[in-house]
Every structure is written in structure tokens, then in C-alpha cells.
């Protein structure tokens, strides 16, 4: 008798989210099975990787991750064009890092101008992130959302402390929205409920359960993502059915393994290779946990992860 593997079927389904305009859109999510379980159900879209750029030069990034962008990163416009035209980015994330009070404290108006400039220079979908300063983000993201009106971007991150104004801006200017909570499946669900109770369409949400790097709590992010996905599929929990984000680069390129020099740590091997590997491995782990959208930095790490996705989605 031939062996028939048992198949798990679920009542729930992850929402598919499309960003961008006209012919330049990307779609992620939409599956009704666990990540890459193509043999059990429908996986209509592959995960999307968005290159991360920022509004100010990346002086705070370690040298090895500054290097690939050395000639373009002084200006967000050339940086964005480089990602789109040379690196063939499918989407770009503009982090408005310079608006942070501890950075250059750029105004919401400055941020809005940068957003407009970048948008006019590229065709690929744009993700707009604040500086992760809850108060400032509320003002910055409202301005950014308005500057990107009807461009069908993702804005974020809405958190418990600031979601109201950011949600209102996303509704007013037709954007998708990242809802971020801090590594807690119940708080993540609660934030999604609060956001939808404001009238925001659940199908336009992206869940960020908070990322972490390999060796620095990755297993927490992994297990929260797993639980979110199982609630979405097995319990048909509507508030847990948006796709999930892994904001990889920011978390990876600050841990010591991506920075420590070969002189200090000769047994760890090449610093550059180590950093790339660290980013790729973190990203792949979160893809397996269920992330459909990744924000990444190093072109070689992106290339490696795309290759893994190719192999996983091919039947």
C-alpha cells in the first residue's frame, strides 16, 4: 500500500496585502497553510523583501553594512534609486531615522519632503517607518502619510501608545499599516482589535510582533509568530490573520557578532561574511515562523534569502 501523508487543513487564512500603485505592486500573504506548506494548501504569494534606506546618512550603521551603499547613502533619493535600479528591490523601506530627537530631530515637514522626493524617484512600493519614538512618530507619520497620499504605502509602526493618530492618518490617506507590539501574542491581538475598532480595515494591517536577532531573543519572536499564525489558521481568529513583518536589518546590524573585528575575535572569522550570514539566518528563521514581509539591509543577505525562498516555494 502506498504511503499517504496526512494533510492538515485549516479554517482560517492569512489576508493577502498588496502595496504600490499601477503596474508596480507587490502582494504578500494569502496562504491558508503554515509557512511554505505548499503541499497542504494554497500559497499564492512569496514573501517580499524590502530594502531598508533612511532619510539621513547611515553613520550609525556598522562599517560593513555602510559599505555596499557608500556612494549613494548620502542622499535618500540616490539611495532609493540604487536599491530599485541596481539591486532590483521589489520594495523599499524608508526609515525616517533623522526625525528622532536624539538623531537630527528633523521636523515632520522635513520628513514629508523626503517622502515626496523619494516617491517621485522610484516606482516600487514604499514602506514608511518612523524613528521608533512613539510621540514623535505620531506627528511624523501623519505628515508622511499625507505626503504619500494614495500611493498605497505601508506606514508604521503603530504602537499601543500612539496608534490612534497613526491609524487615523492611514485611513485618511489610504495606506496599509504596521501594528507593533512587544513580543506578546495577547497584546498583539489586543492592538489589532483596538485598531480595527477605530474603523481601520483588518485586511490592511501587517503585524509586527517585534523582531530580534539570532542570539538575542530570536526564539521569542519565532514563537510569538508561530502562535499568531496558528491562531489565524487553526482557530480562525480574524484579528490574527494579517501577514507578519520581520524588521530584520535594524536588529541584526547592532549585535556584536555583526561588528566585532577579526582582530578582536579571530576565531569568529571574517566580519563581513559573519554579518551577512547573521542577517540571512535571522531572516530565514522568521520566514519559517511565518513572516511574509522582511525589511533587510545587506544585498548579499537578501540574495541568499531570495535563493532559499526560491527553493521553498518551488514544488
Amino acid at each position: 500500500m502506498a504511503f499517504t501523508p496526512s494533510k492538515e487543513t485549516y479554517t482560517g487564512k492569512v489576508y493577502s496585502v498588496t502595496i504600490g500603485t499601477d503596474e508596480n505592486t507587490v502582494t504578500f500573504g494569502g496562504e491558508n497553510v503554515l509557512p511554505f506548506y505548499t503541499f497542504e494548501g494554497v500559497v499564492p504569494n512569496r514573501p517580499v523583501i524590502a530594502y531598508e534606506i533612511q532619510d539621513v546618512p547611515p553613520d550609525d550603521w556598522p562599517e560593513n553594512i555602510q559599505k555596499p551603499f557608500k556612494t549613494v547613502s548620502n542622499d535618500p533619493i540616490t539611495w532609493a534609486k540604487f536599491c530599485q535600479d541596481v539591486l532590483k528591490a521589489k520594495a523599499i523601506t524608508l526609515r525616517l531615522k533623522g526625525t528622532h530627537p536624539d538623531s537630527q530631530n528633523r521636523s515632520p515637514e522635513d520628513a514629508a519632503k523626503t517622502v515626496k522626493d523619494v516617491l517621485s524617484a522610484i516606482n516600487v512600493p514604499l514602506i514608511l517607518l518612523g524613528s521608533n519614538h512613539t510621540e514623535k512618530d505620531a506627528a511624523v507619520l501623519v505628515a508622511a502619510a499625507e505626503a504619500a497620499k494614495d500611493k498605497n504605502c505601508i506606514i508604521g509602526k503603530a504602537q499601543e501608545a500612539n496608534y490612534k493618530t497613526i491609524v487615523a492618518a492611514a485611513i485618511a490617506h489610504n495606506h496599509k499599516l504596521i501594528a507593533m507590539s512587544e513580543l506578546d501574542v495577547n497584546l498583539s491581538k489586543q492592538l489589532n482589535i483596538l485598531i480595527t475598532q477605530m474603523g481601520f480595515d483588518r485586511e490592511k494591517l501587517i503585524i509586527d510582533p517585534m523582531c530580534s536577532a539570532l542570539g538575542y531573543g530570536l526564539e521569542y519572536t519565532y514563537s510569538v509568530m508561530e502562535r499568531i499564525r496558528l491562531a489565524a489558521l487553526a482557530q480562525n481568529d480574524l484579528s490574527m490573520q494579517p501577514p507578519m513583518l520581520g524588521d530584520i536589518g535594524m536588529y541584526v546590524w547592532k549585535v556584536k557578532e555583526t561588528q566585532a573585528s577579526e582582530t578582536d575575535m579571530p576565531q569568529w572569522g571574517s566580519t563581513e561574511e559573519r554579518g551577512i550570514t547573521w542577517e540571512a539566518v535571522t531572516a530565514i528563521a522568521l520566514l519559517l515562523a511565518g513572516a511574509e514581509l522582511l525589511i533587510m539591509r545587506h544585498p548579499k543577505a537578501v540574495e541568499a534569502v531570495e535563493k532559499v525562498i526560491d527553493e521553498l516555494v518551488e514544488v
Partner: protein, 242 residues
Amino acid sequence: MLNRDKGPIQDIATTQWKAGAGMIDANIGPAEDSGESLMEWMVTTIQEIVPLPICLDTTNYKAIEAGLNVHNKEWGKPMINSTSNDPERFPMLELAAKYNAKIIGLTVGKGGLPADAEERAAIAAEIMGRSMEYGVPLENVYLDPLVLQIATSQDHALKVIKAVRMFQDLNDPPMKTVVGLSNISNGCPKQLRPIVNNYFLSLLMYEGLTAAIADPQEIVPTVKTINVILGKTLYAHSYLEM
């Protein structure tokens, strides 16, 4: 109902639907005279405004068939309430087979009320056997242990809970179960009824109860909370609002 006034029926059905009901029980009593037209009218009146399947609740065979004929299956399988071990109720199984309807198997016979959980389970087994003879798949059968009044038959409350557990063991996959919940508090003072109903439901849910015929507004907080406690729903502070 007798005046064919749609308003109140539709209001009740809408309220129950919005409160989270998955099915509406249309009880027309024995309805010996005009049962067929009354059931047709009930089913169409409710389904005109509420996208839910209907539980057809009467002892009148022809009225059930009339209801099944007009039932809109787009919103789910209809349910027949009910068959039992009383030979007069056997023909309901023919209808369930013919119309691929769900059916409630009330674990009583002609000879009076079941004495305990074991007797209920024995009757259940007979109903299951008969269902298969009539061609009704067991997944369409909901066993009802017959809830009795706490005020007059206190010892049966626990027997019903035990029966719900035993019913599930009669088959793999487990048999589905249903109760007419409010019967537990029939005869209790009005202010006690929701309290008795809700606590009784909690215990039944813990034992794996599949469905209850009840006032959804009254029991929804209990259902949601027990589902959280049993790990069937993910907790969030606003879980009651979902």
C-alpha cells in the same frame, strides 16, 4: 406567528444573529392544523433577513418537510428538532437522510424520562444505529441528553453533564451534542434563570458540548470566556468585543 406578523419574528432573529447565534431555532409547537404553511412562513421570514440556517422545531412531520423544502442551504444545513427513541419520531430520520439535514437525537423513549446518564447513552446508541440504517451520517446527528429542571429534578443536572461526556465516547470522531439550555432553569425565579443557565453551560462546555439552544445574548460572554479558558480562542483584553 398566528397572525403571520413578520416584524417581531425578524426582530428576534436579527438580535440573535447579531449576538453571535450560528443557527435559529424555529419552534412552532405541535402545529397540527396549519403546520406546513406555518413552518414555510417561519423559515422564509427568518432567512429573508438573517443569513443563518434554521433548526426546524416541531413534532409535525409534514411541517418539517415543508420547512426543509424552502430552506436556503446557502447559509448552512438545516437541522431537524428532533428524533428520539419514540417510534413516532423515527420518520424524522427519513427526512434528515433525504434532505441531508442535521438532526437532534433526543435521548428519550416512549416509556418516559431516562433515569441516569447510562440510560441516556444506551438510548443514544440506539438512535445512532437507527440513523445509520436510515442513511443519516453520524456527523449530522446531535445527541441531546434532555435537560430537566433544576428546581424539580436537581439530581439530573449532573447526570446530563455526565451524559454529554459519555455521548462523545460513543464514536470516533466524537458524537456531537446539543442541549435545550434554558430548561435547566425552567420554574426558577426570573432573576435566577440567567445565572443558572450560564453556570450550567460552563460545565457542559468543559465536557465538550457542541451546541446549545439558548438566548445568545444571555450566554455569549460565557461562551467566549470558556473558549478562552479552554484555549480555543486567543486571549486579548477585548476578547468579549470580538
